[in-house]
């Protein structure tokens, strides 16, 4: 009887396993296809693409016209420079600030430790809001400056707590012996704690870097000078506000036909860098997400 039961369940299990494998294939297609569609469309001929119906499994009439249009445009390279600056400078500042904060919060020998933690955690649940934040940036003289994209997001509490948790797992004996050798706090942090937290720091670099790369709202609030527009804000103009007119300078007849393929080419040019990087850092995600879930 037991034996028969066992065979029965394995049959059921087999069906389930097959279903599961196929279902996962379906999930992968759903996740991948939109970007593939964009990729194919970006290499399509504008007119052919307009005529095309349904799924795109290959570029409709191969053409690199859209990419040459993107390359000719002055705003996109400039936006790239602004975004790269914000990503590099911003992320560097983020990491330094997170290390400094996490180092202090990871110690339990300071009388103010608990109060400092409360001081910081409060900001996770309560904030001044959109307008007070905007007025604050103005009153600090950051408005319409590239630093408005960096200083207000110089630190992320959640990420700092991830790092703090990681620092706390480092054996105290390491710090003790370094102290006996005459190491100061700076040396302990940057020569012992930081090298021992490389994996967590890699996750933080990814979190902060992606956030900077993808951010557009602060730029829309705080930046007026078009020369300081980051990539995402330019993207928003091209894709959402539908401002393709200044992309195809003068060539009025082709505007309508080229615009769609240009949109797709712009998406590819601005999204591919991130999509190329994250798989290499994937093994660190679990660690970052896990530690982050541990309450502060």
């Amino acid at each position: 009887m037991a034996n028969k039961n066992k065979i029965k369940t394995t049959a059921g299990e087999k069906i389930f396993d097959t279903f599961n494998v196929v279902f996962m294939l379906f999930i992968m297609i759903i996740c991948l296809y939109p970007m593939l569609h964009v990729l194919f469309a970006s290499f399509s001929n504008g007119v052919e693409l307009m005529k095309h119906q349904g799924l795109l499994l290959w570029p409709a009439g191969f053409s690199t016209e859209a990419y040459t249009a993107v390359a000719r445009n002055a705003m996109i390279p400039r936006g790239y420079m602004v975004t790269l600056f914000v990503v590099f400078v911003g992320t560097t500042l983020n990491i330094i600030m997170s290390c400094l904060g996490a180092y202090f919060l990871a110690r339990n020998d300071q009388a103010i430790g608990k109060a400092a933690m409360i001081f910081i955690v409060i900001t996770m649940f309560f904030s001044g809001g959109m307008i007070p934040g905007y007025l604050n940036v103005r009153s600090l003289g950051l408005f319409d400056s590239i630093w408005a994209l960096i200083f207000p997001v110089a630190l992320n509490t959640f990420n700092m707590i991830i790092l703090k948790t990681n620092f706390m797992s480092i054996p105290a004996s390491l710090e003790e012996s370094a102290k006996l050798d005459g190491a100061g706090h700076g040396t302990i942090l940057f020569k012992i704690f930081v090298p021992l937290s490389k994996a967590t720091l890699a996750v933080l670099v990814l979190y902060y870097g992606v956030a900077h790369w993808n951010s557009w709202f602060n730029a829309m609030m705080y930046i007026q000078n078009r020369e300081l527009y980051p990539l995402q804000l330019i993207l928003r103009e091209i894709l959402i506000v539908n401002d393709t007119s200044n992309m195809t300078a003068g060539n009025a007849v082709d505007v309508e036909q080229v615009s769609d393929t240009i949109k797709y080419a712009v998406v590819i040019v601005t999204t591919l860098p991130i999509l190329a990087i994250y798989p290499f850092l994937q093994k660190y995600f679990v660690k970052g997400v896990m530690v982050g879930a541990v309450k502060g």
Binding site: A2, T9, G12, N20, V21, M24, I27, M28, C31, P34, H37, M97, L100, G101, Y103, F104, Q110, A111, I112, F119, T123, F125, F126, S127, G128, G129, M130, I131, P132, Y134, L135, N136, F151, P152, A154, M160, G184, H185, N214, W216, M221, Q232, L235, R236, L239, I240, D260, K263, V267, T270, T271, I274, L275, Y278, P279, Q282, F285, V289, A293, K295
Partner: protein
């Protein structure tokens, strides 16, 4: 008792004059004995004061008749007038309804999705296949909101690929974001697409923490795969689910305004305008700073209350909470 303690304090005072220090006294002692440590922490404190606490103080303009250009304290206090104005705003009920509808549909449909994906991934026999599925399912998370929203707009136009495919099943060929009734489904479904893979990481991590002995014991007791899932796997990840659910509940009234702002238009305000997008329009487009801040403040207070209630309920039900 009292005498004894006084005596011991006196004795200790003989050894060191700094025993009975007040809290700030202790803090000062720490600072003077470790100045470098505090110097290193100073930039962090400055950041929080300048960019978190100063705006909180600035949020006092919610209680003022704020006139841009005047000095902060020169504005007239009108106390709760901005709040009563909001309660009487003709958009008030629409905003509350939309915020709740979008938020609740996200919780009901988007919240379980990563849990289900994690459970299914966990059942895959081939670990390599599982890893490939994971890598690919994380991808949408890394695509910027601007791009995701522009794709949604492109694909759901009357000539868009999604509209065309649905047309096979007799779906009308319309620009979906021009019609109020399609907004919430589009918002929720695209939200699942964006976050289901990335959201599953935490549950997958929790699943690996379940001891294999529990599964063996269940098998010996004659439990089949389904019963094992119900009685071993699910209880094993309940604490993680609860923590994530409370955090989600705490953000119930915080519907992501970035995504809505990139998707909506005045034709579909009826289903898509939420409190935070209204805060933006009143504040940034109409420059009614005091009123906008009051609406935002009302929103944060409601959020905080929901978070506290959710945490309390979770404590009573499963003994897991945020603190």
């Amino acid at each position: 008792m009292k005498i004894a303690s006084q005596k011991s304090v006196a004795e200790m005072n003989l050894r060191t004059p700094y025993v009975k220090l007040s809290f700030w006294g202790k803090v000062w002692r720490d600072i003077t004995s470790n100045p470098i440590l505090y110097l290193m922490f100073l930039p962090v404190v400055i950041y929080y004061i300048l960019f978190c606490y100063k705006p909180m103080y600035g949020a006092l303009i919610a209680f003022m008749d704020y006139v841009p250009g005047l000095e902060f304290w020169e504005n007239d206090w009108i106390w709760f007038d901005n709040f009563t104005r909001f309660f009487n705003d003709r958009n008030f009920w629409r905003l509350i309804k939309n915020t709740l509808v979008i938020s609740l549909s996200s919780i009901i449909f988007s919240f379980p999705a990563p849990i289900i994906l994690a459970l299914l991934l966990n059942e895959l026999k081939s670990k390599a296949y599982s890893r490939v599925v994971q890598t690919i399912s994380y991808m949408p998370h890394f695509i910027s909101m601007v791009v995701v929203c522009s794709l949604i707009r492109e694909f759901t136009k009357n000539t868009g690929v999604i509209t065309q495919i649905l047309g096979v099943f007799g779906f009308p060929q319309v620009t979906m974001l021009g019609e109020p009734k399609y907004f919430v489904p589009l918002y929720v479904i695209s939200g699942i697409w964006q976050e289901v893979g990335y959201g599953s990481i935490i549950y997958l991590a929790a699943l690996t923490g379940i001891s294999s002995e529990l599964y063996e014991a269940a098998r010996i007791d004659g439990a089949n795969k389904w019963q094992q899932t119900l009685n071993v796997t699910l209880p094993g990840i309940v604490p993680t689910i609860m923590t994530m659910l409370i955090m989600r509940m705490g953000n119930m009234m915080n519907v992501g305004y970035e995504k809505i702002m990139l998707l909506y238009n005045s034709q579909i305000y009826d289903t898509s305008d939420v409190i935070s997008t209204y805060v933006y329009r009143i504040g940034m487009l109409q420059s009614d700073f005091g009123y906008s801040t009051a609406i935002g403040l009302f929103n944060s207070v409601i959020n905080l209350i929901i978070l506290l209630i959710a945490n309390k309920i979770s404590y009573m039900a499963t003994e897991t909470g945020l603190w």
